[in-house]
Amino acid sequence: MRLEEYFSKHPEIFNGLERGAVINYTIGERKFHIVVGDDIQVVEGVSREADLEVKLSEAAERKLVETPPEEYPKVFGELFLSPEGDAWVEIELVKPMEELLSKGYGEWAKRAGVM
């Protein structure tokens, strides 16, 4: 399973993020983004409106799609905080922190154990 499909199946992963939150994902050559609305839209390609850029390795993707959705933030956080061999996640904040906090990313980051 790819992460795009996993997100479509488990939109609750992004609970707490405000409408209009946008995250770009890059996995190898693949690029897509998610948009938070009434549900989660997964769209091919990058968005110029992204709040965050997330890059992850294919090994990290394999690990994440096998994770129960309730544990997703924690496993995602661990892959960022403590990369294991080929499995890694990189995060870059694009928008100012104040805007990100107002969109609910602070609480999500706490759930992920990153902040």
Binding site: L81, P96, V114
Partner: protein, 478 residues
């Protein structure tokens, strides 16, 4: 015959095992590093994008070496794994928010009667930085990345009792800086030599020091002595040629945790335990004096004693350990003295045992008369306790709570639990640089300035990144 060079021996604070032996650098060696950093500062200027990339690369480097970093913190500083994790995450979070943090020093337009006035922040050239053993990762990480963000070259002097985590940070930072690596230097000179060199060397503009208040004040004496030596008489007028330095001391605390009658007692107890006993109480912003309103005093005390007695003391590498060793024999001596004084006053309600390298979590109860009216104040009330020993005092009115909280030589931080409106009113009455309401007393993020007044600091809460710069006003006529 060659004289053997003196060495810095770094020990595991729990086992006593030797972890490393580093050469003890001389002032001459430190001076050469200062000169190298200064030359690099004159040669290189990093763009905002470069600074952000360097710090992201530093963060990646540390995350790849997470276990090694944690191991060093646990062994050389005696930090329990739980607390080392907390400090590690603070560093990673800081790197994530780094770009936003640098907005603090962005230029600003201010009102002008005519034309326009722009305020910009310009970097100093070089900073001498001295960190303490209780923040082996976050102190070097925060100060070096703040200096870099401001555009300042830096020379880091970590404590020789625990320099290895700092050395690793510098190693990763230098690797991230590539050809500009000389902008950051690391020294193992003695604390005394480093302080004198930073004070006397004209290439150093800023001195940032994390230390006890005594060492912080000792640097002021050094600055005075140095300037005194430069004093000449010229036609009856004093002529002093020595350079003045910007001095940013971040010193100790004796913080109060005020529990209001409206407080959620369970949450207040949790805050007292987490804030008061993390890292065996060896944190400057740890609440040390728990001031509790009479309406909830007995409940708070009973629950607190129960929680404190549950804390596990032992090997910092054991994930279950709450209280690790005290990393300094000198601190153990001071603690013995403080405990003897508390015993004499019959005030210990739990703990009270010292079994080197441990101090068992201890609560000491004083009446407000004892701390406010006695000629000789209890040592644990008057001094910073850098161990897991905390005092408990009952108060009956808001006025008393404020008087008790302000009855300290220090003015770093205070925490308040209870009705937020009342807490806000009290917060304005407290002589401290920071107040935290209904939150973990150790709370911090890059946007919350840090620091204190009185024996805790000179400027109240500051943004460290600003302290590496000076403000320049540019007025354009209209």
């Amino acid at each position: 015959m060659f004289r053997r060079k003196a060495a810095v021996v770094v020990e595991d604070k729990y086992t006593g095992e030797k972890l490393a032996e580093l050469p003890l650098e001389t002032r001459e060696e430190l001076r050469r590093k200062i000169e190298a950093a200064f030359k690099a500062r004159k040669r290189w200027k990093l763009s905002l994008e470069e600074k952000v990339e360097v710090v992201q690369s530093l963060s990646r480097g540390l995350r790849k070496r997470r276990e090694e970093v944690m191991e060093l913190m646990m062994r050389e500083a005696g930090q329990p794994r739980k607390y080392a994790e907390f400090e590690y995450k603070q560093a990673v979070a800081l790197a994530l928010a780094y770009r936003s943090m640098l907005e603090i020093i962005s230029e600003k337009k201010v009102p002008a009667v005519s034309g326009s006035t722009l305020l910009v922040r310009e970097p100093f050239n070089l900073a001498g930085i001295m960190t303490a053993r209780n923040g082996p990762l976050i102190m070097p990480f925060f100060t070096l990345t703040s200096a870099l963000g401001a555009g300042v070259a830096s020379v880091l002097k970590p404590p020789n009792a625990a320099p290895l985590t700092a050395r690793l940070v510098v190693e990763e930072l230098k690797s991230s800086l590539g050809e500009k690596a000389e902008l950051v230097q690391f020294t193992t000179a003695s604390g005394e030599d480093a302080a004198w060199e930073f004070v006397e060397n004209p290439l150093v503009d800023v001195l940032v020091v994390f230390s006890s208040s005594h060492i912080g004040k000792d640097n002021v004496i050094k600055m005075g002595e140095y300037l005194k030596r430069q004093r000449r008489k010229f036609g009856g007028f004093p002529l002093i040629t020595g350079k003045l330095k910007k001095y940013v001391p971040q010193m100790g605390g004796n913080d109060a945790l005020i529990v209001l009658p409206s407080a959620d007692v369970d949450k207040a107890v949790e805050a007292a335990v987490v804030g008061g006993f993390a890292n065996a109480g060896q944190i400057c912003i740890s609440p040390r004096r728990f001031l509790v309103h009479g309406a909830v005093y007995e409940e708070f005390k009973e629950k607190l004693v129960e929680e404190v007695e549950r804390l596990k003391v032992g090997d910092p590498r054991d994930p279950e350990t709450d209280i690790g060793p005290i990393g300094s024999g000198r601190v153990l001596e001071i603690v013995k003295h403080q405990l003897r004084d508390a015993e004499r006053r019959g005030a210990i309600i739990c703990g009270g045992v010292i079994s080197p390298p441990f101090v068992y979590p201890t609560l000491v109860e004083f009446s407000k008369e004892t701390v406010m009216e006695s000629e000789e104040k209890p040592l644990l009330w008057a001094e910073e306790s850098f161990a897991p020993i905390r005092t408990l005092v009952r108060y009956e009115s808001t006025k008393e709570a404020v008087e008790l909280a302000n009855d300290a030589a220090y003015g770093l931080r205070a925490s308040i639990y209870g009705d937020p409106q009342e807490a806000l009113r009290i917060a304005r009455e407290l002589d401290v640089g920071m107040v935290v309401i209904n939150e973990n007393p150790l709370y911090g993020d890059v946007f919350m300035p840090w620091g204190g007044i009185k024996d805790s600091g000179l400027y109240g809460a500051i943004y460290l990144v600003e302290e590496f710069t000076y403000r320049k006003a540019i007025h354009v006529g209209g």
